[in-house]
Amino acid sequence: MTYVTRRILHMLFLLFGVSVISFVFISLAPGNYVDEMRLNPQISSETVNALKAQYGLDRSTPVRYWQWLKSLTRGDMGYSFAYNQSATSLIWPRAVNTLLLTVSATILAWLLAIPIGIWSAERRGHFDDRIISAATGSLLAVPDLLVALALLWFAARTHILPTGGMVSLDFDSFSFTGKLKDLAAHLALPVAALALGMAPILVRHVRAAVTEVLRSPFYLAAAGHGIPRSTLLFRYALRAAANPLISLLGFSIGSLLSASMLVEVVLGWPGLGPLLLEAILARDLYVVIGAIMLSTLFLACGSFTADLLLYWQDPRIRTQ
């Protein structure tokens, strides 16, 4: 069996485990979607029971789980009670939005963190390094929510950026480049909120990893051969420091994903976050599970990508 197939099997197993656990926990929680209807005097108990039977909520948890699994093999993630439509068609577009947000935020956070971290390591102990350390330290102390709210306030005051949603109302009338610009403007706020939350951690890790490399004999040897400083820092040091940073990449995707749930709700980004929140409150069983499953899948794909990157970047791992 190749490493890749083993990893994919491992990932399937992980998804299976997560689905079982979330199914069990949601079933353990008191009440379900139709229970809420019972409180409504306008709906007769016959209707409620009929709905319950229709949704399959009268059956036991293992049976429901088995049926869900069977439908999953057809690519069907179940049915949303609240929206009265297939959960798949509800979740997918939202998942794509979340993915867009998370990937952009990951890229931005790393693009900020790498040069700042390298600079900070190179200037270790100097004034600029101390400024950077103080800045990352204070950003780390601020909760993500506060950052998001501050950005929201800033956008609302200055009207530079739109403060919610993903596109403008008249999006369809724009040209292609206009559409892109509009999307980017709407992305800016949530991406900035996420990246600002993540970047300080990344800066600190980049600084630590690069600092170690700057002390290593090969770096000194390369400097002794007269290789210019920019090449040394951005090619030699960064490549040598890459291993822990790539592992961190997998982790950063995961934590950005969970942070995005919150930021999406606060800044009105139509991703998985608001959907999941509503679905949990409404006990919309299959939507909750579908959203959790997709987040898990993204997370697993993130760490899988990181491992493949590691293979590609470090020849020593390739031969081990």
Partner: protein, 358 residues
């Protein structure tokens, strides 16, 4: 051509400057003027709120074009610091406190970082101590050699790679193409050492400093590396500064030897004369460490080796006198209170010991 002229004219100037500080200067050959002249070099470790620790103390040395010089000393004597000082590759808490390093008419101590980057690799290059750690772990060998060439030439990437391939072929008789595409961890210690040598010679510097080039290598590989250095010195006419703790490596390879102890040059002279009749007590003790028998038939297994005895209190003397005093078998009372000056015994030898003050 014009470069040579410039360096010659400024050399005259530095000669004139130097006559004033004759006592600190090292020995000169009458006809050839040195292209590297180190004078009175002091290097210190500076820690916050602490007295600086002197690592190198008044080092003077001259290297002529194409000459090979050996530096002999045990660990902690400052020989690696000296190697790095010549390229100003010192850690940030090290400081060159005094002295000058004149290289082709310019003082390396005063040089700006741009000139310095230019000199490293093209003027002076350093073969680093540990071949295992001195190569980038995740870059291909060919790329690493090509980077050195790229740093000093306005060449295309392709041309650098080709030149790198050619340089590797100079140090590997066979297999250089496979090694070009390999990663460091795929090579043996001896092969890595050859790659370091290839990097060092790639831009044809006029001086190569080899810091313990054979430590941690197998015997057969050691012999091969020494042979390679001999061949390259012959072919390329570069000057060589070979730094080692092992006196056995130097014969046949270097003309002169400097013996270092406690951050100072305690003895200098032509290799044959220093080995045959060492002057300084430390050199004498060092020479006594040679393997007892050289002839295969008279080998006696399981014998005691001669040693330099350590005093019970440790070897780090704190008194103002000679650093070797605590281990020295020929000490006189003033050794512990006064530091002996360098003394020129004849036109080619100098020593730092009271035994030779008449």
């Amino acid at each position: 051509m014009s470069m040579a002229q410039i360096s010659e004219t400024s050399m005259v100037k530095s000669d004139a400057d130097q006559s004033a500080t004759r006592s600190a200067s090292s020995l000169e050959h009458p006809c050839i003027s040195p292209f590297l002249r180190v004078q009175g070099l002091d290097v210190e470790i500076v820690e916050k709120e602490a007295k600086p620790i002197r690592i190198l103390d008044g080092i003077s040395l001259d290297i002529q074009k194409g000459q090979a010089i050996g530096i002999l000393g045990e660990s902690g004597c400052g020989k690696t610091t000296l190697a790095r000082s010549l390229l100003r590759l010192l850690p940030s808490n090290f400081r060159i406190a005094r002295g000058s390093i004149d290289f082709r008419g310019a003082d390396i101590v005063q040089m700006g970082s741009k000139e310095l980057t230019q000199i490293r690799g093209t003027g002076i290059s350093l073969i680093h101590q540990e071949p295992a750690g001195a190569l980038h772990p995740t870059m291909r060998i060919g790329h690493q050699v090509a980077e050195v060439l790229k740093a000093h030439h306005r060449w295309s990437r392709k041309k650098c790679m080709e030149a790198g391939r050619a340089t590797l072929a100079e140090v590997f008789r066979e297999d250089s193409n496979r090694i070009f595409n390999s990663y460091p961890h795929e090579l043996s210690g001896g092969q890595r050492q050859r790659v370091l040598i290839a990097q060092a010679i790639s831009c044809r510097p006029s001086l190569i400093i080899a810091d313990e080039p054979t430590a941690s290598l197998d015997l057969t590989t050691q012999a091969e590396i020494i042979q390679l250095l001999k061949d390259l010195k012959q072919q390329l006419g570069m000057a060589l500064l070979l730094i080692t703790h092992n006196p056995a490596l130097l014969p046949d390879l270097v003309d002169r030897v400097l013996v270092m102890y406690g951050g100072q040059v305690v003895e200098e002279g032509p290799l044959g004369r220093v080995y045959a009749s060492p002057l300084h007590p430390y050199t004498q003790d060092l020479m006594r460490l040679r393997p007892s028998n050289a002839k295969p038939r008279s080998l006696s297994p399981r014998h005691r080796l001669s040693v330099i005895e350590d005093p019970p209190g440790g070897t780090s003397g704190t008194h103002p006198g000679c650093h070797y005093e605590v281990r020295c078998g020929q000490r006189v009372p003033k050794c512990s209170s006064v530091m002996p000056e360098e003394k020129h015994i004849d036109e080619s030898r100098r020593v730092r010991c009271f035994l030779y003050e008449h």
